[in-house]
Every structure is written in C-alpha cells, then in structure tokens.
C-alpha cells in the first residue's frame, strides 16, 4: 500500500479544517474544525510509522498520535469551558463579536 493515499487524505482534511476555522462564526464550530486539523496530523503520523518505518522499536509515530489525542481531549474541555463562559457573559458565541482584546 502506497503512503500517497493517506497523506493526500490528511492534506485534504487539514485544508477543510483551515476553511472551517476561517469561514465559520460559531465558536463551537471553529473548535470542531480545529479537531479536524488535529486528526489530519494523526493520520500522517500513523501512515509514516506503519508504511515507512514499520521496524522502529520505540513506535514513535503511534505514540505521538496517542499523545495528540490526549492533548486534543484536554483542549476541547478547556475550549468549551471558555465558550460557555463567553456565552454566559456576552450571550453570544459569535467569534466576530468577540473583539475585546483586539488592538
């Protein structure tokens, strides 16, 4: 199996995530697009590990994928807490309206 397919799929998913971050206004949907980008990187790591370096003893690619999954879970928890706080204080989750810290 060629690594071309997984890498192209990961590039496509990453681009879709970039589009979602730029085009969406709802903060929860922006977080979902960030998740898409993180998953695209995971596909890359697993594909490199299993297709190009299958004999590596430390299993670095899959370990990095596991750690990214854990960090992403923490990121979603804190991110949604921030969104809830924003909604309670401002009654909106529109990222265009939240420009308090803009210079």
């Amino acid at each position: 199996m060629s690594p071309l397919g997984p890498l192209l799929l990961a590039a496509l998913l990453f681009s879709i995530g970039v589009y979602g971050v730029i085009a969406r206004r709802n903060a929860v949907l922006v977080l979902m697009s960030v998740e898409l980008m993180l998953n695209a990187v995971n596909i890359n790591l697993v594909a490199f590990q299993n297709l190009l370096f299958p004999a590596e003893l430390a299993v670095s690619g899959q370990m990095f994928a596991l750690f990214i999954i854990g960090v992403a879970a923490a990121e979603v928890g804190v991110g949604l807490a921030i969104v809830f706080n924003l909604f309670r204080n401002r009654a909106t989750v529109n990222v265009d309206d939240v420009d308090l810290m803009r210079w």
């Binding site: 085009a23 697993v46 928890g77």
Partner: protein, 206 residues
C-alpha cells in the same frame, strides 16, 4: 489495486465527504453528527493502516467523549441556525486559503511519495505499544496525565457559575421556585439570549 487500497478508498471517501459536510452544514446538530462520522471514518483509516490500538483509542476518546461534548456544547449555547448566522463574510477568503494550501501540500506530497509502495501494511502489536509507553515514553505519559488533570481543574474553574460561590444549588432551586425571579431579574436573564448589552459588562467584570 489490492483489497487494502480498495477499503482505504471507500473509507477515505466517506471521511472526506463527511468532513466537508462538517464545515458546510447549515444545522449545528448535523455538523456535530457529521463530525462524529468523520472521526469514526478516521478510526477506520487507522484500522486500514494497521494501527488497531490507535483506532480503538480514537473511537473511545473522540467519538465517545469529544463528539458528545460538542453536542452538549451546541445544545447549551443556543445559537441561531442558518447559513448566514453560521458562516462569516470571509467565506471566499477561507476557500482560497484552504484551496491554495491543499494544492501546495499535494504538489509536495505527490512527487515525494508517488513512487514508493510497501508490499504490505505492518504495524506494531499492542504488546509492543504497551512496552513502548511504559519504557521509552513513560515521562511524557506522566506529563500528559498532569496536563489532563490541569485541564480538568481549569475547565471546572472556567465554567463555574460564580467565582467565590461554593456551588450552584441555591440558584437552581430559586429558578425552579419561580417567584424568586422577581428579586434578581437581571442575573437570571443574563443566562438567556435576551440579555441587554448594558448589563453584560456588569455581569462580565467580577
């Protein structure tokens, strides 16, 4: 084209189409459910690539926890539904940036990996992964557990109702009693979407 490639193409197509629907869907709930489908599809890609343990973790953590968390997040923030409310004005810019990025990445990937092809997919066994976690990667593993603990405490602290109050019990019971609403109307209505702009600053600066 082997059977492996065929399965990968099918799973990859499902994943890509549902990922596109995540960022273009007009309904928030549909977007979250398409996200769950995308994450399941990525788990299938991991299976095709021979990483069974990662696929399992993906389904448990992402589909089981993160997607459900997103569904709750969408239900608790009653946002308006519709394309105009969901998408900002710079949709064209996003399309241009994403398209350019994909073309750039594809132009780099195809010459670099177009010729290579391994005969079969070989992944490490779960036993090898377990030994690697607790031998080579034990320090990052512990740091990750500390990070998860810090994120847990931080999320509780951020999402709590009032800084300094011990809990939310008093407020909840007063909302259910009904007549107590007349005492502090602005505090309870600040939760809803109809809070006036003037009171928001007062509610925010605690």
């Amino acid at each position: 084209m082997t059977a492996h490639d065929l399965v990968f193409v099918i799973v990859g197509l499902v994943t890509a189409v549902s990922a596109i629907l995540v960022v273009t869907s007009r309904h928030l709930m549909h977007a979250a459910l398409y996200l769950a489908l995308t994450l399941t599809g990525i788990g299938g890609v991991f299976l095709v690539l021979g990483a069974g343990f990662i696929a399992l973790v993906q389904v448990v953590v992402y589909v089981g926890a993160v997607a459900v968390l997103f569904l709750f997040g969408l239900m608790l923030t009653r946002a308006p539904i519709g394309r105009e409310a969901l998408d900002s004005q710079n949709r064209g810019l996003g399309l241009a940036v994403a398209g350019a990025l994909f073309v750039l990445l594809a132009a780099l990937i195809i010459p670099a990996f177009g010729g290579e092809s391994t005969a079969e997919v070989t992944g490490p066994t779960i036993e090898a992964i377990g030994i690697a976690i607790f031998a080579d990667w034990v320090l990052p593993f512990e740091v990750l557990s500390m990070l998860l603990l810090a994120a847990l405490i931080g999320a509780i602290l951020l999402a709590r109702r009032e800084a300094g109050e011990s809990g939310t019990e008093a407020e909840v019971t007063r909302i259910e009693m009904g007549e107590a609403l007349a005492d502090e109307p602005d505090r309870h209505e600040a939760v809803g979407t109809s809070a006036p702009a003037g009171e928001l600053g007062a509610g925010g600066g605690r």
